[in-house]
């Protein structure tokens, strides 16, 4: 019933009415937004198996009547908190895994204290991860363990897997894991060795301050913070939108500092010398070659990842030594590929169907 001019007056009136209602809701909800705290995150019941400095090992309580034989150890990225994988019920990757019958452990990190500035790559790869694997084996009574590494947690898992290639790792799943650091073009430019004096920075600050890490992440999309705030105001009448925004915003800004020596090694070995890609990486004098990893591997990458662009991640499958290997490119960004509505539809079911048959 369009008028000749192409305007439908009845629907315009409805639209105006709805916009007025939204404007009123915005004012009410806007006040609510600032006076209330966000949703409680990371609330899936868990037990703390070990806390050692920056290292935390959790075991999530199984909820299925029957579980797969092989437990999973999730290795979180060292820059962020693990609750991205355990947002709220119905949107929690951990809850999904538990419901599907997996026994789930997580290696999560807390902020390294000033006295932990001397933690090196060796501490993470040759001590923290093997220690957690041992504890998972002991707790579960199983020798085999599947590892899931998210972002830099994936890099640490690859380093662990390539050094302990005869070890207990049964399957490896990497989410958005970079191996060719030259292709992280902006990070590469930010840390250009001609201008970025990592020694001076770390010698001054001790640990790499979280503000600088957050700033460098935000600089990758400098317009997005303002745009997201405008969109938040636009949608502040919509409780679901606000809940999702608060979850992601809280996690996104909850960046952890990095231990000084560890950050120095990341900059020099990976950002400058690209050693993982060039097969020249060593950790504590031990060679870490991707070709030595022979276990089944799944690499999930995001089509629109602005932090780890596809070009930085795409060589992993080619370089890995396994015969059972698969890459899946999924719609979404660096975070939305693993958490949120997209992940529920795409990544999680894919992971379940891949890992289930390799977990018996």
């Amino acid at each position: 019933m369009n008028a000749p001019t192409g305007l439908d007056f009845a629907s315009i009136s409805e639209r105006v009415q709805s916009e007025v209602q939204r404007a009123i809701q915005r004012s009410i909800k806007g006040v609510e937004y600032f006076s209330s705290s966000g949703p409680s995150l990371g609330s899936t019941p868990k037990d703390i198996l070990a806390v050692r400095g920056t290292m935390n090992l959790y075991h999530y309580r199984p909820i299925a009547d029957e579980i797969y034989r092989v437990p999973i150890l999730i290795v979180m990225a060292t820059t962020n908190r693990g609750y991205i994988l355990d947002m709220v019920p119905g949107q929690s990757f951990i809850e999904f895994l538990l419901k599907r019958g997996y026994d789930v452990y997580m290696l999560d990190w807390t902020a390294p204290k000033p006295e932990e500035k001397s933690l090196r790559m060796e501490d993470y790869v040759l001590d923290f991860i093997p220690d957690c694997i041992r504890r998972v084996q002991q707790d579960s009574g199983e020798k085999d363990v599947s590892i899931i590494g998210y972002c830099f947690g994936g890099v640490l898992s690859l380093l662990y897997g390539s050094i302990f290639h005869d070890g207990p790792m049964k399957n490896l799943i990497c989410f958005t894991t970079p191996i060719d650091f030259r292709e992280m073009k902006l990070f590469s430019n930010f840390s250009d060795r001609r201008y970025f004096d990592v020694d001076r920075l770390i010698d001054t600050t001790g640990n790499m301050p979280p503000e600088l890490i957050l700033q460098s992440f935000e600089m990758l999309r400098p317009g997005s913070r303002v745009a997201s705030q405008v969109q938040l105001w636009d949608n502040i009448w919509n409780d679901e939108y606000v809940k999702a925004y608060r979850m992601m915003d809280r996690w996104g800004t909850d960046t952890l500092p990095l231990a000084g020596e560890y950050f120095r090694a990341i900059t020099k070995d990976l950002m400058w010398d690209n050693k993982l890609y060039n097969d020249t990486m060593t950790v504590g004098g031990r060679e870490a070659k991707l070709a030595d990893i022979k276990v089944p591997i799944l690499h999930a990458v995001a089509e629109h990842d602005h932090i780890v662009p596809y070009d930085a991640a795409k060589h992993l499958i080619a370089k890995i030594g396994s015969s059972d290997k698969e890459e899946v490119v999924l719609k979404g960004g660096h975070v939305s590929v693993v958490a949120g509505a997209n992940a529920i539809k795409r990544l999680w079911p894919k992971l379940d169907s891949w890992l289930g048959k390799r977990s018996t």
Binding site: P45, I48, S224, P349
Partner: protein
């Protein structure tokens, strides 16, 4: 329904999206230059040093005022979390000792599900 092309709300949202994309793309191009890296690292290095000094100064100030710093509060929160974890462990062990079958939640020491699960056959996959 009104034509989406004429809907001011849709036009506004599209405009914001396009502006964001345009600005990000323009800024990303500018940030790939070596000059940008040079300036950013000069400024960043100086700022990090100044922030460190300011942080230390604030710590001293808070200490003088007999107030905890943010780092101390975060440290305390983490300690409380660890203590809660230990308490949960002790609680579960106590429940196990007393064979408390009415325990509301399972924890350590309580029987765990058998590790016998098999993957669903292809037809059953959802």
């Amino acid at each position: 329904m009104a034509d989406k092309g004429n809907d001011p709300a849709v036009i506004w949202q599209t405009m914001i999206g396009e502006m964001e994309k345009g600005f990000n793309s323009f800024a990303n191009q500018a940030m790939t230059s070596p000059e940008f890296s040079k300036v950013m690292n000069q400024v960043g290095g100086a700022t990090a040093g100044a922030q460190k000094q300011l942080g230390e100064l604030m710590e001293k100030y808070l200490l003088a005022m007999n107030l905890p710093s943010r780092a101390q509060m975060v440290g305390m929160a983490e300690r409380i979390q660890a203590i809660e974890g230990q308490l949960n462990e002790i609680k579960a062990l106590l429940q196990q000792v007393h064979h408390n079958s009415l325990a509301p939640e399972s924890g350590y020491g309580t029987p765990r599900p058998p590790r016998t699960k098999r993957p669903p056959s292809e037809g059953e996959q959802k």
